[in-house]
Amino acid sequence: MGTAIKAEVRKLLTTRLWWGMAIAVLAAGALLALLMASILNETPNPEQQAQGQPAMTPLQIATSTYTSGSAFGYVLLMVIGIMTIGSEYRHKTITGSLLAVPHRSRLIAAKVIALLAFGVLYGLIFLIGSVGAGATVLSIRGLEVFPEPGTLLRSLVLVLLVLGLWALIGLGLGVLITNQIAAILVGVGVAFIVEPLLGVLVSQVSWGESLAKYFPSRATNAVLQGYAQDGSTNQLSWWAGALVLIGYAAIMVAIGTFLTERRDVT
């Protein structure tokens, strides 16, 4: 098993994908942190209040600053998850992978562990970008850089977990849709457009809010920010959100393992 994991880590590190993605993750963290650190205020001016910007505690400002970019971060990790299996189908390297590790569930398990490790790695890169850029701007503006360290630190550590879980969701999607490009388009389309729209639509009906809070993006927000961005009160606690995300990842990995076990590799 250890050898199979090492091989998966090597596969990820020996193409240009990994550092291309590292730059993208760093940029997503830094740019969103710059934006958030510049516009958020404890007491919004009248104009902002008219636009519905709520009053924020220092903790909310800091959390928002350091984690907002993770919406792009987790989509990038989902793409990495898709590509760890999608590129094997695309370039037919799946044949060689299965010759070396003929036990198919073992191959998937090795990919799962490697992706969780890469979730941590990319999470650290993300935090370097977001905390580095965000803290600089906040301190220049005279705002608190690290209020309520315990709670804030929890959010930052959970970034590492969330990114890994989204990579697993991508892995399952990549097995489900073997055409890599199609899988990426579907994954990004659902994460950025379909799911948020659906969330808004569902929230229109009376019972909708209690359903929408289980959506992946909302569960992710619950884990990272601990408060709802749109001010709605209907949000999971951070640990419930984490459990929901783990559930999604587990289901996608299970589907991926099931299909991989049964497929002919031609």
Partner: protein
């Protein structure tokens, strides 16, 4: 483990299409076995079933008595090269081999050793996307040899190799077979492997049409002789204890190893000889006869199997 490949009643259907149909054969250690058949005969499908990549509809395939998927050290037991395109174009040849090395628990140094062995050390740092066909074949072969396996399974290994490469491959496979390894190579060209293989398995439409040693396939050596006094010559040859029959297109066909022997018998019998040459079954012709008119991929599905025919003429 003795490294024998055993295929028993192996069948595979893709939907309603029967790609491999009740195929049975075994491949012996210390010999090179050619697995032959025209395009679409089911060679690659069979090899992929042997390697646990395709699930058989029925039947079994084992290596040294064990199915591939249950081997404890697959890379160090069986080396396989299936297609020349199985590389990530962005990964260098060395990294490709190192990925295999780490999966198999082999030292990284194996990668460079193998690149040198197959003659492409300079390709180590080059991304596989920029490889020529021959370089891909060699990299595939290097990957197959990484674990110094006892069994080698190569799908069309000569494709894309230059004449020098083919000659090198021949010698190399001979060397490996002499070490007692089991070697199975597929090809759609009998002529390509004729000089390399000891045994042949010929399939058409997913079924075996002929199995045996290459010498059995060639049949006995014959000498053809043309004389204006055919009857007298035939009698003289029969008297000398040789088997004679009229040859197609005139003359006599005699079972004999040497033309000199026939020439001397004719000289002693005082029969003039106009033509004298040795004949061997034309294997390419034989191959064609065994597999012609039956290719389901070329339409005419109503056409049945042509019964396997004897000899090359």
């Amino acid at each position: 483990m003795d490294g024998r490949i055993d295929v028993r009643n192996l069948s595979k259907s893709f939907g309603t299409f029967r790609a491999v149909d009740d195929l049975s054969f075994s491949v012996e250690p210390g010999r090179i076995t050619g697995f032959l058949g025209p395009n679409g005969a089911g060679k690659t499908t069979t090899l992929r079933m042997v390697l646990g990549l395709i699930k058989p509809t029925s039947g079994t395939a084992t290596i040294g008595g064990t199915p591939y998927t249950q081997l404890t050290h697959p890379i160090s037991t069986v080396g396989a090269a299936l297609e020349a395109t199985n590389f990530h174009p962005g990964r260098t040849g060395r990294d490709h081999l190192r990925v295999i090395a780490s999966a198999a628990g082999l030292p990284d140094s194996r990668a460079d050793e193998l690149l040198t062995l197959v003659g492409i050390p300079a390709a180590a740092r080059k991304r596989a996307g920029g490889y020529s066909m021959g370089m891909r074949q060699r990299l595939g072969l290097a990957a197959a040899l990484m674990g110094d396996p006892k069994v080698l399974i190569l799908d069309e290994p000569a494709n894309g190799l230059d004449p020098e490469g083919i000659r090198w491959l021949r010698g190399f496979l001979r060397h490996l077979a002499s070490e007692g390894k089991t070697i199975l190579i597929s090809s759609h060209l009998l002529a390509e492997v004729e000089q390399t293989v000891d045994d042949v398995i010929i399939i058409a439409n997913g079924r075996a049409v002929r199995q045996g040693t290459i010498d059995e396939l060639r049949g006995e050596k014959r000498v053809r002789v043309l004389s204006p006094q055919s009857d007298r010559l035939a009698r003289a040859l029969s008297d000398a204890g040789l088997q004679v029959r009229p040859a197609e297109g005139g003359g006599l066909s005699v079972i004999a190893d040497e033309t000199a022997q026939i020439g001397e018998i004719a000289y002693r019998a005082g029969v003039p000889v106009h033509e004298l040459h040795s004949e061997r079954a034309d294997l390419e012709q034989l191959f064609f006869q065994l597999t012609e008119n039956t290719n389901r991929n070329l339409g005419d599905p109503a056409q049945g199997f042509a019964a396997p025919q004897e000899g090359g003429r």
